[in-house]
Symmetry: C2
Subunit: 382 residues, 2 copies
Amino acid sequence: MRRSSAPTLNDVAREAGVSAMTVSVVVNGTGSNTRVSEDTRRRIHAAATRLCYRPNAYARGLSRRRMDTIGVVAVVDGNEVNLYFLEILNGVLEAAAERGQNTIVFSVKGWQPEHLNVTQFCDGRADGMIFIAPNLTPEFAEALQQRHLPFVTIHHGSELPNTVNFDVENERGAYTMVRHLIDQGHRRILYLSGDADGYDVRQRLAGYRRAVEEAGLPFDESLVFPGSYSSNSGRQRMTQILAQNLFGPFPTAIFCGNDATALGVMEVLTENGIRVPEDVSLAGFDDTLTAQIITPQLTTMRQPFRHMGRRSVEVLISQINASRGDSPANDFQRLEQEEGAPAGSAYPVQKTPDIDVFEVELIIRGSVGRPPLHPFIPTSGK
Amino acid sequence: MRRSSAPTLNDVAREAGVSAMTVSVVVNGTGSNTRVSEDTRRRIHAAATRLCYRPNAYARGLSRRRMDTIGVVAVVDGNEVNLYFLEILNGVLEAAAERGQNTIVFSVKGWQPEHLNVTQFCDGRADGMIFIAPNLTPEFAEALQQRHLPFVTIHHGSELPNTVNFDVENERGAYTMVRHLIDQGHRRILYLSGDADGYDVRQRLAGYRRAVEEAGLPFDESLVFPGSYSSNSGRQRMTQILAQNLFGPFPTAIFCGNDATALGVMEVLTENGIRVPEDVSLAGFDDTLTAQIITPQLTTMRQPFRHMGRRSVEVLISQINASRGDSPANDFQRLEQEEGAPAGSAYPVQKTPDIDVFEVELIIRGSVGRPPLHPFIPTSGK
DNA sequence: TTAAGCCATTCAATCGGTTGATTTGATTTA
DNA sequence: TAAATCAAATCAACCGATTGAATGGCTTAA
């Protein structure tokens, strides 16, 4: 019984009156110089078009031992969507498509190490992996390396041996923001930080501290509230802070470790009739899309998410290429992306990228102003 | 030269001192009853664990002729990210993972029909496709069907032959919202609609009209502004409206065809010192995450995005199963998802889903209030 | 004792391609 | 005219699995 679905190499061969191998050669442009006569080539192309032939990606990948596919690990985690994940993913999708690479999204429930079974990424589906904001153990990284699966990380929490990680200037970012707040006249700056054992969290805290101390202000630990980088966490902590009036005079500015937190804080402030920035200034970190949507718009540090996604693809691909010794691309891929790069040059092959720390940019919007003459006094919930 | 990377079936077989076929049988639990002796089984499992064996997904897919993978088409389109896409994708990822299905995201630059090359989805990578908010021509759908590639659409713009489409009650949604506005006392309701030739756009407009006419108000076409469903479009049109003062008395309420538009409108209103909802009420449609983030929070119609994503996976899978006659799942998949469903029951196989129109829900928040006593009078830009 | 039956395992073909080596036949060179 | 050269196409093995049919050893019934 003939298969009902897609036409195969053999169907095309039959249709064109040649053998399957010839078709393969034509389709892939292998040794395109003189191997196949112009006439045959035309016949085959005609047959392929007539049958709407498309090579089976998996069969091809199997024999070539390369899938031209990169994997991205997505966290499916409760209900809160990580906005920045989408922005990075966008960059990844774009860059991958430009290079004729496919993208496959692996979904993982939560980033707890126990959920991260190395082998689930090692089934040949992807030539390499991008882990976004993961919580990988060194053992995990080692296991991947042992399986010869190239990978890069974005926003990885700590340093991993022999691993390319893309991150931003966390310390300088936080420093710059706090410096900005201080320049505006703020002296008591609350800091809603992230999970205490995160790498970036520590870096940003360090930036906060440096800015404060550099300005000759005391570093007051009671102004720092660790939590998680989510709007929920921001909401909870802010509520608690207002209710319990945990410290002396109310701060004139609140710096949040990321935008999501700031959004949660903003909600609570608004609910309590505390105006931003008249009563208290608010700053975030990330510049996710929502930052410019809320009112007032959020002053924040911009992370070049899309760019990071793109860059991680580039580096990953060169890593993949380095781990074998060949060049990519074939007729079909080329055909489908005429636009874009000249496509003549091979990809740069470089072991280690020169850039893996991206600059952040201070985005000044309406949520930060000068401190009020008389700092806000919460009506204690007590 | 031995391959450096992943161990294969043969490696395991050698390690366990049996043939590859036996390993295959053990690994897949095929005819698990009595075919393989307990002892051999144990030896094989041991060997597999020792070698960290994981079956190559593609080789397996090739011989099985099923990849256990569903494809989702993502639009990589300029800079504006479709928030709702992520929300649907989340549901898809979740539901797919629960069923041991993988998800592969295809990226397409824009939804113009000319970008939609049918064959790009027909390379065997996915067993079926989910198209989100596509602009598919009937020819395209037909081509897919001809290639026997099961697919479903979400928010498809028009009716396609023999195609399952998931959508929401567009007409009733718009009707309900406008009704709500009228109930609040509004009489002049501006409607910022979407692209005129969209299906849902027409439906929502119909709902708007019905509500207006049912209330005995005249349907005034000069109050309807078509555009695109983006925040940019909302910004532009609102700016224009304010500048040109295009109609008589300023409306007391603005209904936007989707949340993104409403966000753009909100920005412009705020910039111009027009207060929401004191001066004008504002309503959206979608209930994306941002709706509850902005201040004031947006009154909107909730679409069950995640649920739609989940449901589309279910239906797609049953369509895939129907298009062959078999049952899915294997040892590895089962092993990796112990939690979740009892996994005992087969998937329901049904040709046509009974539900493909989802209910929307009126979410009342702060952006809608009673109309002002004296409607706002814009200071004409002229 | 022999045929039948059952277990446990292996054979061999297949999925849809790729690729280095090889065949075929025509043309050129010695 | 035989040998060497070269273009055009094919052979056959392989990628890593799956699967229906076949094998061999052993037990049980006739």
